[in-house]
């Protein structure tokens, strides 16, 4: 890899689904709005606007809980096709600047603009223009982070949200990460953050005091990554094609399932859903593992998996039974899926006719 300084933009729309809905129905602009499932059907919030966030509503929260926090919350069903159209418009704007685009979701992407000649090569100006164009063409606002790598760009895009951007210049990396709370690091969730707090670690500067050896001892392979991240090092490239790693489907039930028999009964429909989804993929990669995930009524998850080469109903049924037995609690959601073999062989068949 060349030692040339990279310029990465992380672009992220502000409460995307909700923003599209408000754009199409401006009366909603000054009201708390969310997109998600209805509380009666035990739905979950997928996005909400900033007014709703003030009440403590956030994505992945049960809609019923959200309604308790914010009784005036307007929950809309959402229209994926509409969002997809907007997403395509946005990607078209990115393409004016670079072809190295890694979409993370409908509204979020990494752009590698290192070799882009737009705006005299200024990534900061490019991000500014991209955000303006998104606003003009789609009517929604986006935030951006500009940095020499993906990790920093992603954190930076959150810095001046909504409708803002933040730049981390190469010479500012050290100061920027020193202040950064460890829980901002990708992969550091509640549990790891707690572990670190117990060790007296709050910021990346604290983390930098610990040797690579000790980090690996404490956190396994993730320790090695932590060692690099807390120094602002991230060499991952912007990948234009993301390989599908797994395929899964899940159903949340209107009333909690109490018995194994009830779960078994529902498994059939989830299984059919998986087969339909698998059928839509043109070239299904080789399957490595089958897994079942269940969510208990208290939102606690458990996942169980085993090796397998095809989506076998009986195997899912066995896994489900094992998972259900882990806790004697009512079940809110059943998910099943397959993980694919990683394609790391490097073998490549050459063509007769180019």
């Amino acid at each position: 890899m060349s030692a040339k300084q990279r310029k990465i933009i992380h672009c992220d729309c502000d409460c995307f689904f909700a923003a599209v809905e408000i754009r199409d129905n401006p009366v909603l602009a000054d009201k708390p709005v969310a997109v998600g499932g209805t509380p009666e059907k035990r739905g979950v919030i997928s996005t909400c606007n900033y007014i709703a966030r003030k009440y403590g509503v956030h994505s992945a929260m049960a809609s019923a809980t959200a309604m308790k926090l914010c009784p005036k919350l307007i929950i809309l069903r959402g229209d994926m096709n509409k969002y997809r159209v907007v997403s395509q418009q946005i990607i078209a704007i990115y393409r004016e600047y670079t072809n190295i685009i890694e979409p993370l979701s409908l509204d979020e992407a990494f752009l590698d603009v290192s070799n882009s000649t737009n705006c005299k090569g200024s990534a900061t100006l490019m991000a500014q223009e991209i955000r303006e164009k998104i606003k003009q063409k789609t009517g929604i606002t986006a935030s951006a982070g500009i940095a020499p790598n993906k990790f920093l760009a992603k954190i930076a895009s959150d810095w001046n949200k909504p409708d803002g951007q933040f730049v981390v210049l190469p010479e500012e990396i050290d100061d920027f990460v020193a202040e950064l709370p460890v829980k901002k690091l990708f992969g550091v969730g509640k549990v790891t953050a707690e572990k670190m707090t117990n060790m007296g670690i709050e910021t990346c500067a604290d983390l930098q005091q610990i040797s690579n050896f000790d980090l690996v001892k404490k956190f396994g392979t993730f320790g090695d990554r932590l060692y690099k991240l807390c120094r602002g090092i991230d060499n991952r490239e912007v990948k234009t094609e993301r390989k599908r790693k797994s395929l899964s489907v899940e159903n949340t039930f209107e009333t909690d399932l109490q018995t194994i028999e009830e779960c078994e009964e529902k498994l059939e429909q989830v299984y059919q859903k998986l087969l339909t989804r698998a059928g839509r993929i043109e070239e299904l990669p080789e399957i490595k593992t089958l897994f079942v995930k269940i969510k208990f009524y208290d939102f606690k998850n458990t996942t169980i998996e085993c090796p397998g080469h095809e989506p076998d109903y009986d195997v899912f049924s066995e896994l489900l039974e094992k998972a259900v037995k882990r806790e004697s609690k009512a079940i809110r959601l059943i998910g099943i899926g397959v993980r694919f073999k990683e394609d790391g062989s490097g073998e490549h068949q050459m063509e007769l006719f180019e």
């Binding site: 080789e286 073999k341 790391g344 062989s345 490097g346 073998e347 490549h348 068949q349 050459m350 063509e351 007769l352 006719f353």
Partner: protein
């Protein structure tokens, strides 16, 4: 419509046309067979809109009332198969129900109107190719395995059939390997002719062929091929497309030619294949002085190595191949010694018998 027939002629006829029926159907009538009954014969037709098979039966047939209808193919075949030998079967069709009885067995099958059954248009052949069943079988068997399967380059999902007055050739390729088979025989045509027979047509026609010297005549029109074999008439649409210029990809081989006993090579490759990557099937050939080494390994880091003594004194080199492509090709060489010709690690390998070169196979390498 009413008739009585013995199990054996009916079963023979049903099983020869049933192969064309696709298991999953968009049009319900395509799961059925068309029964056309005159006072002398019963004609059974099956189609998938691309290939049509028509079989006529006259043996052991007693017709009480002529008529036509369509009956569910797979069910009828299974019923017929499981009836006792020499059973007499009576068919009686009224309204939209067919009653099939034999001894103490009775079945009521639903029918669909004969008018709904799609027939291929009448073909007006402009070329007639004379060949024996055995020769056509050899040509097909030597090449059909290399046809593409559901490739977007639709013209590869079939077999190129090329005739000139004194030569018949078949060619198939899936873009990774290519198979060519030549036969120097008088074909009865006056000018060169080239058609692409779709995959399904090739497979169905192969089922009707055997090794006999019985002459048959392939009738070609601009968009169909038709041939009568015994009591069966086979018709297939042709692929309307341009087959790639295959001559261009047949490599010109210099000195890097090795001759190997076919069975020894086949067995070595089969063993090495066991430990190749299940998906990519790559094996590495290393040619050094008088030695060919074949190596394979899989993601679990297991390895296979085979060594074969050869007569080789050129500069050593390495090249990788999909072992399945090699085995397919070698399996079709009708001689005891195969000849492998190489250019370099990025060029294709040419495989043929060491004496005659009726069958030639081109396999593109893999980067390993």
């Amino acid at each position: 419509m009413k008739f009585c027939i013995s199990k054996e002629p009916l079963f023979t006829s049903l099983s020869s046309v049933c192969g064309v029926i696709e298991r999953r159907q968009t049009l319900p009538v395509l799961s059925n067979l068309l029964f056309t009954l005159t006072l002398e014969k019963l004609i059974i037709t099956g189609t998938d809109l691309e290939v049509e098979l028509v079989s006529s039966v006259i043996e052991d047939l007693e017709v009480s009332e002529a008529g036509d209808t369509t009956l569910p193919a797979r069910k009828l075949l299974d019923i017929c198969k499981n009836l006792p030998d020499n059973a007499k079967i009576t068919f009686s069709i009224k309204n939209d129900k067919a009653t099939v009885t034999s001894g103490k067995s009775r079945f009521s099958l639903s029918t669909l109107p004969a008018e709904d059954f799609p027939s291929l248009e009448q073909i007006s052949p402009d070329t007639k190719v004379n060949i024996t069943k055995g020769d056509l079988k050899t040509l097909f068997d030597s090449t059909s395995f290399a046809m593409a399967l559901q490739d977007v380059r639709y013209y590869l999902n079939g077999l190129l059939f090329e005739v000139s007055p004194s030569k018949i050739r078949t060619v198939a390729t899936d873009g990774h390997r290519l198979a060519i088979s030549d036969m120097d025989k008088s074909s009865g045509v006056t000018a060169e002719h080239q058609v692409i027979i779709p995959r399904k047509g090739v497979i169905e026609l192969q089922r009707l062929l055997d090794d006999s010297d019985e002459g048959i005549s392939l009738e070609l029109s601009s968009n169909h091929i038709q041939v009568v074999i015994g009591s069966i008439r086979f018709t297939s649409k042709l692929i309307d497309g341009k087959f790639p210029d295959y001559e261009r990809v047949i490599p010109v081989i210099g000195d890097r030619i090795v001759s190997i006993d076919k069975e020894i090579l086949k067995k070595a490759l089969t063993r090495a294949a066991i430990l190749s990557n299940e998906k990519y099937r790559g094996v590495r050939f290393t040619l050094t002085e008088n030695n060919l080494s074949i190596q394979a390994h899989n993601p679990e880091q297991e390895e296979a190595q085979e060594e074969i003594m050869i007569n080789f004194n050129q500069a050593e080199f390495e090249v990788g191949f999909n072992v399945n492509y090699l085995l397919d090709a070698i399996g079709c060489v009708g001689e005891d010694v195969v000849e492998l010709g190489f250019a370099d690690a990025n060029s294709s390998c040419l495989i043929s018998g060491s004496e005659e070169r009726n069958n030639r196979y081109v396999v593109m390498p893999m980067r390993l």
